[in-house]
């Protein structure tokens, strides 16, 4: 396993950082939560952040925390789908396709919510899950997996997730379309 400093990775994949933070901001505004501070990109740790008002509304908390995860994953699948065939299957040298694939992977790599995002979710979810809140029930295993993956970032779990989504997503789409 080789080590590349976080800021270098963030710089190489900056579109993903910006989209992740834009996702937080979007859901904060959607659920009318006050935003106290936003940084879309910086050379530091974290590479970006959105400081916002805490809320007791679990739905708002869920989407503010997990929204970027879904948005980044979706955009990763879309960009990688556009570039997957020439890059992986057809072996066509197309620089534009490689650019789109980099963009897709950059976005996918920054899909994971931060441990802070997940901790807010984790604090409310168990109690609500006991009361039968469906979103809380769904969020529990998802948050658990994401917490583990977050810690596994040191072994490139974020890159692994980006590649997995950028490869398996398009394969699933094309196989479904070929039926």
């Amino acid at each position: 396993m080789f080590f590349i400093p976080g800021p270098v990775i963030a710089a190489l994949t900056f579109p993903g950082v910006i989209i992740h933070e834009a996702g937080h901001l979007f859901f904060c505004r959607l659920f009318k939560l006050q935003v106290f501070g936003v940084c879309f990109f910086r050379f530091g740790n974290p590479a970006g952040y959105v400081i916002h008002q805490q809320t007791e509304d679990f739905k708002a908390q869920f989407f503010v925390s997990m929204g970027p995860f879904f948005a980044n994953t979706l955009l990763c699948v879309l960009f990688c789908t556009a570039a997957f065939l020439p890059v992986w299957e057809l072996k066509v040298f197309d620089p534009l396709a490689y650019f789109f694939y980099w963009l897709g992977l950059s976005i996918g790599m920054h899909a994971f919510p931060s441990t802070t995002d997940l901790s807010h979710l984790w604090a409310q979810a168990p109690g609500l899950a006991k009361k039968g809140n469906l979103l809380a029930i769904v969020s529990l295993p998802l948050a658990a997996v994401l917490v583990v993956l977050n810690y596994a970032r040191v072994i490139w779990a974020d890159l692994g997730y980006g590649i997995a989504v950028g490869v398996l997503g398009p394969i699933a789409i094309f196989r479904a379309l070929a039926r």
Binding site: I18, L85, K91, L96, L177
Partner: protein, 357 residues
């Protein structure tokens, strides 16, 4: 420690023990009474610790009851943070970037259209290959190769489909178009499978070629038929080899003077594949039967089949040339009732110019 006065009883208390109700400050006992009264008047009755209202929710600066403080929802902010909170919007560059991203996505999807087509054809082809429908799969995979000739997967699938449907030429074309048949990882099972199929097919074609050369020589008919049968067994995916092996059996029957067997095979082949070649072979077999039996109906049938063969050439110059050569020998057989090989005929009537039968 900061202190403030209860608006109800007028006493002073530490800020942390006071409460806020509808913008007024109350001590613990007074706030409950004020809350009940507010409720009776139909006003908001919820109160909160004053400390929460006394510091800016963003920067934690003490704002107390400052008139500059800004109330947004249930939160209070200092004069500096308030406008910032209120006006927090998407920056212009972010809006433009997101618009550019969406545009890029559209461009990416439009740019990938030809690849989607190629990919779809490949996956359809792959599915058909998996299902064993090799001939059906081949056109799909050829379409993929047209767009992506360097794709290992598409080329290997196309070569496999072509070889397993007896189309060696298409397999050769697909492999040749992929760096002259070179694959970086030759140990991949897919490469090994196609390599094995290719060796089997090309080995069979080599044998068939040898058989064809032997068949043209007098006295080698049996060996030629054996080799052609071996080729057909080796590569059953190419039915033409089995057909050729069967037609070589005509030569064996001719050499053994077993004209009934010759006729039976020729009739079967004509029935299965009505073409100039099978019509001429049947004409030849019928002429042999006439030569040994003298039965005029065989002669009539032989001449009729020769005419059919001529029609089936559809004016093809090469086929007509071959047929004219045969017609001359067949006429000799019908008129003389002598059965001789082509070599013998050439020796007698064509100064032995050609060695073939």
């Amino acid at each position: 420690m900061s202190e403030a006065t209860c608006s109800q009883c007028g006493q002073t208390f530490p800020v942390r023990s006071l409460f806020d109700l509808n913008g007024s400050t109350y001590c613990g006992p007074c706030v409950q009474k004020a809350s009940r009264e507010a409720k009776e008047r139909g006003q908001p009755s919820a109160y909160m610790p004053l400390i929460n209202k006394s510091i800016c929710a963003r920067c934690n600066t003490y704002i107390g009851s400052s008139s500059d403080a800004v109330q947004i929802g249930s939160l209070r902010f200092c004069a500096t943070c308030g406008p910032l909170i209120k006006d927090w919007d998407y920056p212009q560059w972010l809006k433009l970037s997101l618009a550019a991203l969406l545009l890029l996505l559209v461009v990416a999807l439009a740019h990938g259209r030809k690849y989607f087509h190629a990919g779809r054809e490949m996956y359809v082809g792959e599915r058909l290959v998996t299902a064993g429908h090799y001939a059906d799969a081949l056109p799909h995979l050829q379409e993929t190769i047209r767009i992506a000739p360097a794709s290992d997967k598409a080329v290997l699938l196309a070569a496999k489909a072509a070889l397993l449907s007896g189309d060696v030429a298409s397999a050769a074309k697909a492999l040749q178009g992929h760096n002259g048949g070179y694959f970086e990882d030759a140990s991949k099972p897919e490469v090994r499978e196609v390599d094995s199929l290719w060796k089997r097919a090309s080995g069979a074609l080599e044998k068939a070629d040898q058989a064809t050369k032997l068949e043209a020589q007098d006295g080698k008919e049996i060996e030629a038929a054996r080799l052609m049968h071996e080729a057909a067994t080796m590569y059953p995916e190419l039915p033409a080899l089995a057909f050729a092996a069967e037609s070589f059996e005509e030569g064996v029957a001719f050499v053994r003077k077993d004209y009934d067997a010759f006729l039976a095979i020729a009739q079967k082949q004509w029935k299965e594949h009505a073409m100039a070649q099978t019509a001429a072979a049947l004409s030849s077999a019928l002429a042999c039967k006439f030569a040994i039996s003298g039965d005029g109906s065989y002669r009539q049938q032989s001449e009729a089949m020769l005419e059919k063969a001529r029609q089936l050439t559809q004016g093809n110059v090469d086929s007509l040339k071959v047929l004219d050569e045969f017609a001359e020998r067949n006429r000799f057989r019908l008129e003389s009732r002598q059965i001789i090989s082509k070599t013998e005929y050439d020796r007698r009537f064509r100064s032995g110019k050609t060695a073939s039968k």
